[in-house]
Every structure is written in structure tokens, then in C-alpha cells.
């Protein structure tokens, strides 16, 4: 499975746990749009640390860097 699908599956699980079964585009801003909250963001951080070995302590953390599939893919390719 490619990264895009892995991330989509993870975000879909996160949303469905909140009762949100709606579809979303790769570039949809899930945090700015209010579909994901800070408590969900920390789960995204844990997922990216574990799966991709990203260390956010080094360069600081911006919630919006993990706000959409496109942003997460860009983050993975940068680090």
C-alpha cells in the first residue's frame, strides 16, 4: 500500500471514531475545517513518529503540517 493510502486509512479511522463518516479530498484541511481537533492531532503525531520516524522536536511542530493528506505527504518527503 502506498503512503497516500496508508495515511488516508489512518485519518478515516480517526474520523470514524468521532462519528464522522464523511468523505474527504487529499487536499482538504481537516484541522482548519474543524473535522479534526488537537486531541486527534496528537494521534497523527504518534502515527508519524512510529510509522515514518519523524522527530518533531527537532524543527518544531505546526498543526497544519499534518492537516491534510497532501500536507502529511509533503512533510514525509521533506524529512
Amino acid at each position: 500500500m502506498n503512503d497516500s493510502l496508508v495515511i488516508r486509512e489512518f485519518l478515516q479511522t480517526l474520523l470514524s471514531r468521532k462519528g464522522d463518516q464523511g468523505a474527504f479530498l487529499d487536499n482538504e484541511q481537516l484541522i482548519a475545517g474543524g473535522r479534526l481537533q488537537s486531541i486527534d492531532t496528537l494521534e497523527v503525531v504518534l502515527f508519524l513518529e512510529e510509522k515514518y520516524g519523524i522527530d518533531f522536536a527537532e524543527n518544531g511542530f505546526d498543526q497544519n503540517e499534518v492537516g491534510s493528506i497532501d500536507n502529511i505527504l509533503a512533510l514525509i518527503s521533506r524529512r
Binding site: 471514531r17 468521532k18 462519528g19 484541511q29 482548519a32 474543524g34 481537533q37 488537537s38 486531541i39 492531532t41 496528537l42 503525531v45 504518534l46 513518529e49 518533531f56 522536536a57 518544531g60 511542530f61 505546526d62 498543526q63 497544519n64
Partner: protein, 494 residues
């Protein structure tokens, strides 16, 4: 059934809002909505805000630039809205300095110097994004907040007098209301594609911030404005219809607040006050416990509940007005308070009640702690980061906000008077931390759960916040009385 119709989901209305006539109708509706809710605003604010959003509605391509221009003009012309002039005048008198034209000139000079300094710092941080960048560029917000706290401590502790003391406190008074706005701008400067300083100025206390006395950036900084800005006429029409919808909600909140004042508290200024139940405000029963002339227990409980209701309505109303202005200006911001009475957990309530204050603490305290410390133990990592935000960050935010009080009573006395808020923030942090850990692996109690389970969950959450409200005092020397009052509610003798 919806109390307020979802105006932004009606395609014909959205199309109408894009026409010249539609825009005019929405602006008139906005002006009427603000006028009806003027109790939440300063006098004449509704005319100024309507004029400002009208400009931004008819020149959408220049929206961000107009926001910068209008916000800078607002800062300069209406500085009494954010600058504590009474404090500075009293300080000048106490230090034997002139209070004629020289004081405003001095303050204007300080404002200019601070903003020039900020622009240079912002540009420096934006330019110097290399692996070997200096610490101030790596952690600008940490440097800003600790720097401000250090100057505050120095001003309070050093044996200064005369012009130097006045200058130091005036600098603190200018930076204080901008502290967290600067923080968001510096945070944006560390990102890959930050806005330039011209657009940042629009997010440093945007004109709608003066609607209420807030130190919290709503809706966060320029980075967020960039993401939520309407991209086309359709987006703008939807955002503006959402603004009108929010103002209709505000009318309901406003009416409820008035009814509460008249029928629950029996506000003496009102003609119907004799119909009121005469429930004492929270401070009255607390003091009467201290003087051993206690009010009956049922009135004490009623006072706690009424205090929660009035605080919730006031925070909701002011937040709605600010977000309505922001949406009308073309930025589709999330609400500050959103269906918090549907919260099933303490953490969920806090997220929904004062969203932007929570976001500030999450951004500048929770994530810096979460991404750096206790990585080996996930549960403790979440708990420690929650305490860093809801307790420590919360205390830092509120103590720094009260700089004028520190000048008035001195640092040690101010710290003594802050004990009660420290207790409040500690219990809040523990409550949210435990709530997060308890619910981390559980599915949210949904609307399909039995009504009694939902009612029980919501009732528990509301009770927690209503009781905690007894201790929500930033400048208090009545901690002991408040604690006795709290214990007496549960028939615990003191």
C-alpha cells in the same frame, strides 16, 4: 429541528449573496445584528465594523491588505481599546512625571519602537532558516514569553523610580495586549511559506479583536487567516451567511442573558426586578460564609449554577460577535464556543467552550511539551503535555495578562493573590488530563446511546466546570472563604 436555519446551505441564498444587491442585504443584516447585540460591544462599534467589512466585501482581491490597513488604523485611532491608559497616567503621576501631551508622545514613541523591533525580529527569523540558526530563531515564542516575564519581574523587583520606571512599565503595557499576537506571527515566521510583515499586521489585533477585551488572538494568527480566507465569491457568500446565522444565535444568547439577569438575579436596575428570584451572585454567598451569616444551602447551589449559566452565556455571546465579524470580513473561522452542553467528557467541554484560548495553550504549551518530553511512555506523555498547557500555560497566560496589578501591589503580593487561580488551573489540568486518558481508547458516547447515559455524562461535566468556577479568580485574597464555601455545598463542616 433546528432553532436557527442553516442559511449557508440554501443554494438560492448563496447565489443571491454573490450579487450586488445580495451583498448589500447581507451588510444591512450584519449591521442590524451587531446593533441588536451592542451590549457585547463598545459604543459605535457596530457602525465602524460594518464600514470595515463593507470595504472588504466590495474589494475582495485586496481583503488581506485592507485588513492590515484597517487594523493598524484601529490600533492608532482607538488605542484606548487595548492600551491601559489609566494605568499609565496613574503611574506617571506617582513617579512625578508630566501627564500633559508628553505622556501620549512618550507612549507613541514606545509603540513605534516596539513595533520596529518586532518587524526586525520577524524578518530575522524568516530569513535565518538554517540548521545552525540561533536559539531565538529556533524557539522564538519561548524567547518572547520568557523575555516578557523577565522584564515584568525586573520592573517589579528592581528599585527603579522616575522616568526609567515609567518607561519600563509603559513598554510592558504596550507589549502585554499584543504578546500572543506576536507569538502567532513569530510562529508563522518559522514556517515554510509565511506571510510577509504587511499581511502580518492585519493579524496583530485585527479590528474585530477590540469588540471585546481579549488578549487571545481570534481566530489565531496570519497563518490561520491564510488558510480560512474565502477563495471565491461562493466561499465569501457562505462565510457571510454563516456570520448572519451566528448573529441570530447571538440574539438568542443575549436575550437569555437578559432573562437570567432579571428573573434569576433580579437585577435592581430593571423594571421587572421584583419578579426575580433574587439568587445572590457567587461572590455574595462566599463572603457570607466567611462572616458566618450563611445563605441557605439551596441558594448557595443556585448561585453556583446561575454563575455557570451567566459566564457561559457571556463567553458565548462575545465569542459569537467576534467570529461573526471575522466571517463577514471573508474568513470562515470556527466558532469560539460550539455546542459545549453536548460534551460528554471534561476534555471535550474545554475544547468546545473557549476554543481559541484552548488552541493558544495547545499551540504554545501542549505541542512543544508533547513533541519533546517523555516519549517512552505515551500515556504519561499525554498527561504531562496536558498539565503543561491547561495548568502551567494557563497560569502564565493569566499572570502576564495582569501586569498592571503587579505594578500596583508588587510581585509577591500579586503572587499571593494568584494562589486561587493556581489552584483552579491545577484542578482543571488534572481534570482534563484524567479525562483524556480515560477516553483515549474509547469511542465517543454517541447520540445513539441511551438518553440517561448522555444526560449523566453531560451533567457530570457541567457540574465539574460549575463547581470549579467558584475558584476562577485571578486576583483574589479570598481563597480560604471560597474553599469553605465549596465544602459547605457538600455539607462538610468547616
Amino acid at each position: 429541528m433546528r432553532i436557527v436555519p442553516q442559511l449557508d446551505t440554501y443554494p438560492r441564498l448563496v447565489r443571491f449573496g454573490q450579487t450586488a444587491l445580495g451583498k448589500a442585504v447581507l451588510l444591512v443584516a450584519f449591521a442590524v445584528g451587531l446593533r441588536l447585540n451592542s451590549g457585547f460591544l463598545y459604543p459605535h462599534a457596530w457602525q465602524e465594523f460594518t464600514g470595515a467589512v463593507a470595504l472588504m466585501t466590495y474589494f475582495p482581491a485586496r481583503r488581506r491588505l485592507l485588513l492590515s490597513l484597517l487594523s493598524v488604523l484601529h490600533m492608532l485611532l482607538f488605542h484606548s481599546m487595548w492600551l491601559n491608559s489609566d494605568f499609565l497616567e496613574a503611574l506617571a503621576k506617582a513617579e512625578g512625571q508630566a501627564t500633559d501631551w508628553t505622556l501620549p508622545a512618550l507612549v507613541a514613541g514606545i509603540i513605534a519602537a516596539i513595533f520596529l523591533g518586532f518587524v526586525r525580529l520577524f524578518e530575522f527569523i524568516r530569513r535565518v532558516r538554517t540548521p545552525s540558526m540561533p536559539f531565538v530563531a529556533k524557539r522564538p515564542v519561548l524567547c518572547l514569553v520568557t523575555g516578557y516575564a523577565a522584564v515584568l519581574a525586573a520592573a517589579a523587583l528592581l528599585p527603579l523610580s522616575g522616568m526609567i520606571r515609567l518607561l519600563l512599565w509603559a513598554a510592558l503595557a504596550v507589549v502585554g495586549p499584543y504578546l500572543w499576537f506576536f507569538a502567532y506571527a513569530l510562529k508563522d515566521a518559522t514556517t515554510k511559506t509565511p506571510d510577509g510583515i504587511t499581511l502580518q499586521l492585519g493579524a496583530l489585533r485585527p479590528f474585530w479583536s477590540s469588540a471585546v477585551d481579549v488578549f487571545t488572538p481570534v481566530p489565531k494568527g496570519a497563518g490561520n487567516l491564510r488558510r480560512i480566507e474565502a477563495r471565491n465569491p461562493n466561499d465569501l457568500s457562505i462565510a457571510q451567511l454563516k456570520a448572519i446565522k451566528l448573529l441570530i444565535w447571538t440574539c438568542i444568547v443575549n436575550a437569555s442573558l437578559h432573562l437570567l439577569q432579571v428573573f434569576v438575579y433580579g437585577a435592581p436596575s430593571h423594571v421587572l426586578s421584583t419578579l426575580g428570584w433574587g439568587i445572590p451572585t457567587l461572590r455574595v454567598p462566599e463572603i457570607s460564609v466567611a462572616s458566618q451569616h450563611s445563605v441557605p444551602l439551596y441558594l448557595a447551589w443556585a448561585s453556583v449554577i446561575a454563575n455557570f449559566a451567566s459566564t457561559a452565556l457571556y463567553i458565548t455571546g462575545t465569542g459569537h460577535v467576534v467570529i461573526a465579524c471575522c466571517r463577514m470580513a471573508g474568513f470562515n473561522a470556527l466558532r469560539n464556543s460550539y455546542r459545549f452542553l453536548y460534551s460528554r467528557t471534561v476534555a471535550e467541554f474545554w475544547n468546545r467552550f473557549t476554543y481559541y484560548f484552548k488552541e493558544l495553550l495547545v499551540e504554545f504549551f501542549f505541542f512543544p511539551a508533547f513533541t519533546r518530553y517523555f516519549k517512552k511512555n505515551i500515556r504519561f506523555r499525554i498527561f504531562a503535555a496536558t498539565i503543561a498547557a491547561a495548568t502551567i500555560g494557563n497560569m502564565i497566560y493569566h499572570f502576564l495578562k495582569n501586569f498592571a496589578w503587579v505594578a500596583e501591589v508588587g510581585l509577591w503580593r500579586a503572587l499571593m493573590g494568584f494562589q486561587e487561580y493556581a489552584f483552579y488551573a491545577s484542578v482543571l489540568g488534572l481534570g482534563i488530563g484524567i479525562s483524556q486518558l480515560r477516553n483515549a481508547d474509547r469511542k465517543r458516547l454517541g447520540d445513539d446511546a441511551p438518553w440517561w447515559r448522555r444526560a449523566l455524562a453531560t451533567g457530570g461535566v457541567v457540574s465539574f466546570f460549575a463547581l470549579l468556577g467558584i475558584f476562577d479568580h485571578e486576583r483574589s485574597y479570598h481563597f480560604g472563604e471560597d474553599l469553605r464555601f465549596f465544602l459547605r455545598l457538600f455539607l462538610i463542616p468547616v
